[in-house]
């Protein structure tokens, strides 16, 4: 479809080169990412091949040592992944520091014991160096200096494009106006927690990411042609950089408005990440189609319909929810109230669709 892709391709190219520039800019002395990967690597080695590792550092590879190394490896893995993935990596870096101190302590005890390891000094020195780096990184994170390249940035990324379209039986002016008031979108986009409009063009997005993470970024509208199209892109320091364009086209035969949306974003983890996301039901194409469908529901019927099963985040029998479910998912059961006039283009306050991502 030429009319939707033409303005977009340019964006995509610009986007890729911006991406490269941004990564170069962010290389510091020792990035906490590096420490995260170090933790993951060492942890894996300790878990998978404890005997070899013990031999390498000059420890005896008896059963106790192997067990201890495995436990240490698990700890390294957890804190390493934490550093790489969590939005607030500072606390994970401090956990690494804690682990380092524990290791130093144990090593000091072994070094002074009757059966010292063969290369205690080398090991102690290396560990002390890592500890210093961890402390530096942790305090840097605490000062918020590393805020910008947190999280999923550590994973290899690859720009991906998602397209979705829907026909809404409402006039184009109404559909455009609804979309342009960006705050409206947070009610139909299930993974969006909030959208705050900063000014005419800029907005701040808070989105639930995988595994309880939160992603935030600023977006700016780059082109806005009323009742025709809106294009936007995230600002360069965004967690997940993205750009998109939405076209509003009259549907033939007076059937309302066609929405054609196209979004390009940095897929965390590249192709593998996208595959994993699909497995866990958060494939963005699906997400986008679902979001557009809910937008249609709100514009056509004034609210988003719940079924007995759909209020649950995972497969669940189609039977009425318990009161506890409703509280957990933030759905207020309605008592009888005086009727209000229906305003199709406004969402009734109680219908904020809480698809639940724990």
């Amino acid at each position: 479809m030429n009319r939707t892709s033409a303005p977009h391709d340019g964006n995509e190219r610009g986007f890729a080169s911006r991406h490269a520039r941004a990564s170069r800019r962010q290389r510091g002395l020792v990035r906490s990412d590096t420490l995260g990967w170090l933790g993951v690597g060492l942890g894996l080695a300790e878990v998978v091949a404890p005997s070899k590792l013990a031999h390498l550092v000059g420890m005896r590879a008896d059963q106790t040592t192997r067990r201890a190394l495995r436990l240490h490896g698990l700890r390294e893995l957890v804190t390493g992944v934490g550093v790489l993935v969590a939005a607030r990596r500072g606390r994970w870096l401090w956990m690494r520091v804690g682990g380092d101190l524990l290791d130093l302590g144990i090593l000091a005890i072994t070094a002074t014991s009757r059966r010292p390891t063969r290369r205690p000094r080398t090991l102690l020195t290396a560990l002390a160096a890592v500890t210093v780096l961890d402390v530096l990184a942790a305090s840097r994170a605490a000062r918020g200096e590393e805020r910008s390249h947190s999280t999923v940035r550590a994973l290899p990324t690859q720009p991906r494009t998602v397209k979705a379209a829907v026909t809404i039986g409402r006039p184009i002016e109404e559909v455009y106006a609804f979309w342009r008031k960006l705050d409206n979108l947070s009610a139909v986009m299930v993974h969006v927690e909030s959208i705050v409009e900063l000014d005419e063009r800029r907005s701040h997005w808070t989105v639930r990411g995988p595994a309880g993470t939160t992603l935030e970024w600023d977006a700016e509208i780059t082109e806005d042609r009323p009742n025709e199209m809106i294009a936007w892109r995230s600002t360069p320091e965004a967690d997940v950089r993205s750009c998109g364009v939405v076209h509003f086209v009259p549907a033939p035969g007076g059937r309302g408005t066609e929405i054609h949306a196209q979004i390009t974003y940095d897929a965390p983890g590249g192709r593998v990440g996208a595959m994993l996301a699909t497995l866990f039901g958060r494939e963005p194409g699906q997400q986008a189609r679902g979001d557009l469908r809910r937008l249609k529901q709100v514009l056509e019927t004034g609210e988003i319909l719940h079924s007995d099963a759909s209020i649950h985040p995972r497969p669940h029998p189609a039977r009425p929810p318990t009161k506890r479910d409703l509280v957990r998912y933030g759905i207020a059961p309605r008592a009888l109230e005086p009727p209000e006039p229906p305003i199709p283009s406004e969402i009734s306050s109680f219908v904020i669709f809480e698809e639940i991502v724990q």
Binding site: Q286, L305, A309, P315
Partner: protein
């Protein structure tokens, strides 16, 4: 409240589940007085419909009394006696505006699932798998009815439940099938399956002035019911006679002008092809056994119409497509747009032109739902339609 819950193949249980609540502004809660087991519920019972979860509340044919309404429902009041159509429709989307309510674009929260299987999604349906929404069904004491300002029809006269209950599904479904036949004076209509939908289709075809109506089934009592109550002029027991030969004989070799498949995905049959279908269905290589549909196509007169009212779920084998194409047949089908037909059909019932209660053979209480399914599945004791009385 008590509700009939699905737990797997041939396993339904009446259990206590939470009472439904108003979740959307246009919801109503209905206290069910009468509900029926539909032939299509047997597809669920036989475990052939994908997208079921253990514990799903079943039932899409029900009526009762309104006990609670959401703030945006202005046409219903507490205490109203209503029959609820099985498709859930918003009344505002393109499909609803065109009165094709079973294609409502806004009532399937799991549209994504349906699109994977069918390309696009139809409307949500009560108690009929998560492919069509995951809505709790009406074989229960209480049921939440979304878009209650669009679907339910008020019953004001002194008609008994059994006379109006079937407005929820089988009467409009049968009527729509007959209507899709495009019956003109002198037309002959053949109906495969003399179950509830088949009976309604036959009665409707007669109302629409079909010259002759031929019922095809293997149960004597159902064929007798068709003759006695539904206006069938001829019957064929397919276990005794060859269907194609008999139809040719009955129609001077032309074949019926319209053929209605009121059987669907679990047809019975004979011979090698039937065995082949049973095996492929058991192995999940085809989802549906289209014996009746194949016959309906082959039997139909040149230029005639084949109407599919029976439910199909997925893919079928060995469809005689050459027959459709080379003989200019028209295929018409669809889940019934019940909301479109309820009012005129209620008027027919009120005028005494049709009394659909003749199909009821068994009346049980809701607690006995499991026995009802069992009876209906095995057609024990002449079982044609089970009505469950809930309160």
């Amino acid at each position: 409240m008590k509700a009939t819950c699905w737990y797997g193949k041939h396993d339904v249980r009446v259990e206590n589940v939470p009472d439904p609540k108003i979740l959307n502004a246009r919801d109503a809660i209905v206290r069910v007085t009468s509900t029926a087991i539909c032939g299509s519920d047997l597809h669920l019972y036989n475990g052939l419909v994908p997208g079921m979860e253990r514990g799903d509340v079943l039932g899409h044919e029900f009526m009762g009394e309104v006990v609670e309404v959401g703030p945006s429902v202005r046409n219903l009041e507490i205490g109203d006696r209503v029959v609820v159509p099985f498709p859930i429709a918003c009344g505002m989307c393109g499909a609803c505006q065109a009165e094709r309510f079973s294609l409502c674009e806004n009532t399937n929260p799991n549209a994504e699932l349906a699109e994977k299987l069918w390309g696009h999604s139809p409307a949500g349906i009560f108690g009929y798998s998560h492919l069509v929404g995951g809505f709790a069904g009406g074989q229960a004491e209480l049921v939440r009815v979304p878009f209650a300002d669009v679907g339910p029809i008020k019953i004001t006269g002194d008609l008994r439940d059994e006379q109006v209950l079937f407005l929820s599904d089988v009467l409009p479904t049968g009527y729509m099938a007959a209507e899709m036949c495009g019956i003109r004076p002198g037309h002959v209509v053949a109906v495969w399956g003399a179950g509830p939908v088949g009976q309604m289709a036959m009665a409707s075809a007669r109302m629409l002035r079909a010259e002759r109506v031929i019922a095809i089934d293997r149960f004597g009592e159902r064929l007798r019911m068709a003759r006695r109550h539904a206006g069938a002029t001829d019957t064929i027991d397919y276990e005794e006679h060859d269907v194609l030969e008999s139809l040719a004989e009955l129609t001077g070799g032309r074949g019926p002008d319209a053929c209605i498949d009121a059987v669907g995905m679990e047809a019975h049959g004979h011979g090698l092809l039937h065995a082949h279908d049973r095996v492929k269905q058991a192995l999940r290589l085809e989802t549906d056994r289209p014996t009746a549909l194949r016959q309906a196509i082959q039997a139909c007169a040149n230029g005639g119409t084949v109407v599919i009212a029976g439910v199909y779920g997925g893919v079928v084998d060995k469809m005689p497509f050459g027959s459709l194409m080379n003989r200019s047949l028209t295929v018409r089908t669809g889940q019934c747009h019940v909301q479109h037909y309820m009012r005129p059909l209620l008027a027919c019932i009120e005028r005494g032109e049709i009394d659909p209660s003749f199909i009821v053979t068994h009346r049980l209480s809701l607690e006995d739902a499991a026995r009802g399914y069992e009876l209906f599945l095995h057609k024990q004791d002449g079982c044609t339609k089970v009505v469950l009385e809930a309160s």
